[in-house]
Symmetry: C2
Subunit: 176 residues, 2 copies
């Protein structure tokens, strides 16, 4: 593992029993408030995506906004928030997905990608676990005239197999 990835990995904090007993939560706030680690991560992402012909980066509410917006700014492309239901003010399309009990729903504006045909979209979130939210977000993007060309996660909880659900290539910075 290169030095940059080592710096990133070390800066992530494990919190036991959050949000409920038995879960070890990957806390990325200690990565973000460490200027050196945050910079290392953003440079790593920039190096990966600078050669892609992206039109937009979409980030999942709310931690995906952090990495997605910063990368969009570095690459000079637009940023699109994939939001929880009820947060977007104009006409939306939405996608439900199952939770352990019940379901949740994400939305994008119908004109999120400015109605650009085959717009190339990179989807970003901080972490993929079972992949329900990410799958819903990919499906939403592909329901518009745009195309999700890759999904990028800072952390992939590989044992949960979430990436198998996604109809798009996947890149994970760290696999744990």
């Amino acid at each position: 593992m290169d030095q940059r990835l080592e710096t990133i990995k070390k800066s992530i904090r494990d919190i036991e029993d959050f949000p409920k007993p038995g879960i070890v939560f990957k806390d990325i706030t200690t990565l973000l408030n460490d200027a050196q680690a945050y910079k290392a991560l953003m440079e790593h992402l920039y190096d990966r995506y600078k050669g892609y012909e992206l039109d937009f980066i979409a980030g999942i509410d709310a931690r995906g906004f952090i990495f997605g917006a910063a990368l969009a700014n570095m690459l000079g492309v637009g940023f699109v928030p994939v939001r929880k239901k009820g947060k977007l003010p104009s006409t939306t399309i939405s996608q439900k997905y199952s939770l352990e009990y019940g379901y949740d729903e994400v939305e994008i504006h119908l004109d999120a990608f400015r109605r650009k045909k085959n717009a190339q979209v990179l989807l970003i979130d901080d972490l993929i676990a079972t992949g329900g939210t990410a799958k819903a977000a990919v499906d939403l993007i592909n329901k518009t005239e745009a195309l999700c060309v890759e999904c990028c996660f800072i952390i992939n909880l590989e044992a949960l197999g979430g990436t198998d659900k996604l109809e798009a290539p996947v890149y994970s910075v760290l696999k744990v």
Copy 2:
């Protein structure tokens, strides 16, 4: 108004009657998905803050994450999310604030600013209306060993007087 501010202003969409009748919502998703306008805004913010001796940028959940994280990355400083209650996994301090009916609450990690004494913090959100959330966030930052040296809003709904509540200097990109 300079050309950059004109580009930023034009890219923001008014949505009538959201989230409820009589409210005109300032939709910044049309700024974000316009690569030129988003770039103009981030360069404007960078120009304002490049001379400040900031240690951290704090962004308010969730739209404040977008601008705050991108600017922290440009300036090479750490980013701290101010979150809605229950989202942060480690030990937090929280601050309640009044809504029209009832109250809401924001939180930061107790060690959000790495326990750096007098850390210089810039607080960012997309919009200030009555200022309840921003005041709670400023008070939270100042309850740690850090200091909120300025609050920055992309849009200030000036008639609502929200900035009068804040015990920190304020900069607004656009006043409407």
